[in-house]
């Protein structure tokens, strides 16, 4: 096939540039090529200095997230043909510092994530010889949707609140908190609520809803956040009304 499509790629070389600029590359337009395939073609055949991240090429690792045509997308799951005849803008995810070209620094999220304790918390650990913690299919269904998150950060790139207020703990972290709260084996609700009830927690969110729209795994972080707000509000009312002994 002789057809090609033009990629307009954001470049930022920290040793040379003070701010990002654009560079254009023509890549073959093949029906089965994703944006990531186009970038790999550039890297292999045209310009070896271009930097970007990817790993699995199958929508699982979450490392190939970029802004394609102004929308946060997994580039390995976004087809070039959907943008024909082009050009296609490829830029780093919004709301994160850019390390180089299309590579962003997600340290902020890596620091925030453990704050919501995204692991099973038990009041009492049952001895190993008593076997595993069993769970019914219904109990699995209760949290399954929120467990599909691949930490791709598309939701953070889509969230204007996170862009304006970097302190906001953000959609994926809250969705993961909800994932463990809804797990029948977990007893950590109280501890997570203490973190998320803070100003930078769920109340930072003003329900733009873009996080859910861009999420490639249908996690629906917006729903998780709103449910958490309800939980937090109930908790505040209880704290206010009930004597200490009756709380929880």
């Amino acid at each position: 096939m002789s057809q090609s499509i033009r990629l307009r790629v954001a470049r930022y070389r920290p040793d040379k540039d003070t701010e990002p600029g654009w560079q254009e590359y023509d890549v073959p337009l093949r029906e089965e090529w994703t944006v990531l395939d186009g970038l790999n073609h550039v890297k292999n055949e045209v310009d070896t200095t271009l930097s970007f991240r990817w790993s699995c090429r199958m929508g699982i690792c979450g490392s190939c997230g970029m802004n394609v045509g102004g929308e946060p997308r997994l580039t390995c799951a976004t087809f070039l043909s959907d943008y024909a005849p082009g050009p296609v803008d490829v830029a780093p995810l919004s709301n994160f510092p850019v390390v180089r070209d299309l590579v962003v620094d997600i340290t902020d999220f890596m620091e925030k994530l453990p704050r919501v304790k995204p692991w099973l918390i038990r009041d009492e650990e049952q001895p190993v010889d008593e076997g595993e913690y069993l769970q019914s299919p219904e109990e699995l269904d209760a949290y399954k949707q929120f467990s599909m998150c691949i930490n791709c950060m598309l939701c953070y790139a889509a969230c204007p609140v996170y862009g304006l207020e970097p302190e906001f703990i953000g959609p994926a972290a809250i969705a993961l908190a909800e994932r463990y709260d809804l797990d029948s084996r977990d007893h950590g609700t109280r501890q997570r609520l203490d973190v998320l009830i803070e100003q930078e927690g769920v109340y930072g969110c003003t329900f733009v809803g873009e996080c859910t729209r861009v999420c490639p795994k249908h996690v629906d972080p917006a729903a998780a956040i709103q449910r958490y707000k309800l939980k937090a509000a109930q908790e505040s009312v209880k704290m206010f009304l009930l004597p200490r002994a009756l709380r929880r």
Binding site: P14, D15, G70, N95, F96, P97, V99, T206, G209
Partner: protein, 130 residues
């Protein structure tokens, strides 16, 4: 290792909310709260005028028909409609209602809110025109 920060820190442009229709609708929904507050105030003024007797009520009506106020209230009403529609359509995401072990579909939750709105409106209409 150098301590100089070489990362590029993007800034959110002032007009970020004009970039996508969904952002725009969101900002308008936030803005609608101001108009809702105004309509509540207007209603309170109205109730107060009614409570103060015929003269005050006549004054209120005269004030309420001034062109600028009619325009303001028309705009406020448009925002009220936007607020209601967007608010109703967001609720199913925030509320998970289980009935008989099955999740109530979003359309039913949204429909129930419009039904409730209709019932309350009819009730208020009946109270006022009775």
């Amino acid at each position: 290792m150098s301590t100089e920060d070489l990362r590029y820190h993007p800034r959110v442009p002032v007009l970020w909310w004009t970039r996508k229709p969904s952002y725009f609708v969101f900002v308008m929904r936030e803005l609608s709260s101001l108009f809702i507050a105004w309509l509540v105030l207007y209603l309170l003024l109205f109730v107060r005028a009614v409570g103060r007797g015929d003269a005050a009520y006549a004054d209120f009506l005269a004030w309420a028909t001034s062109p600028w106020l009619v325009v303001l209230n028309a705009v406020a009403f448009a925002f009220l409609v936007l607020h209601t529609i967007t608010w109703f359509s967001l609720t199913p995401q925030a509320m998970v209602i289980d009935l008989g072990g099955r999740r109530v579909p979003p359309a039913v939750i949204i429909g129930a809110q419009y039904a409730a709105l209709a019932v309350v409106s009819v009730l208020v209409y009946w109270l006022v025109t009775r």
